[in-house]
Amino acid sequence: MPARERRRRGFREVVADDVDLLPLMNLFVALIPMLLVSAVFLNITVIEMKAPGDEDAQARADQAREELALSVTISAERYVVEGNGVQTVSVQRADPAAAAQLAAALAAIAGEHPENHDVMIVSQADTRYEDIVGVMDISREAGLPGASLLAADRALN
């Protein structure tokens, strides 16, 4: 029988039944690195600030003297919340619940003065940028989105 004879001789016809994917692979291999380079894996956001002109800064400083003038001073050991007609609150930074205490103090003041949305963040020369951003976050979440940065007697923003 011819079939048996074929098996005996070890002859087998190989038929390629797969689709040729190599051209598509080449395309993918070119596309994927290009997209990987332009892909964004970090969620980058921004905190918007407006730097005032000289006149604006003066006007704001005059206004702050008359109004609440809420400020958070960041020192090496503590956060101090002060303002006109506001009881001064001091929070030890070493306390694990410092952020929560500061948030509660600011939220209470924001609740008492709903017309006020501003807070001045007073930093020392060596205050870390990360700590300032942390206080800005706490202030924003407490209902005080208008943060200004101050150092010594100079208003930046």
């Binding site: 390629a16 905190i47 990360e130 930046l156």
Partner: protein
Amino acid sequence: MPLRKGRRRRRSAVQAPLRLTSMMDILTVLLLFLLKSFVAEGEVITPAPGVSLPESTSDTGPESSVVVAILDDRILLDGRQVAQVPAGAPGGDLLIPALAEQLDLSRSQGEAIATRRGDADSYAPKLAIQGDRDIPFALLQRVMYTCNHSGYGDIALVVLGAS
């Protein structure tokens, strides 16, 4: 040797194609994911190499702007180092002249482009600051002062949003 040659078996040329189907599946999924992230993102800001941005709860997206990166004592403008400010520099004048010079140049170029486009009146120079999380406030203060001095009033502090 003729005897060995005679013993040698004839090998049939069998083609063994690579099974690429599973790899194609992976690549297709990866391609779709990358295309989606490419389309969904708006303005893309890439952190400057070496800058470790602070984390924040802010969810405001970045806009196209000039980027000033602060890393240790080096200041980069759009990826180019333009100034070096020693950490213990005396805090007299806040202005950083080398940065101010480059910012003025960048602003005048932006204004020239806006004039050519015909929207010079609505042109508002914008700037994003990528500060390393460990930089002291004194350095940030000097950079912000210099930016404001050069007419960049809209300043965005670039941070890592909560993912």
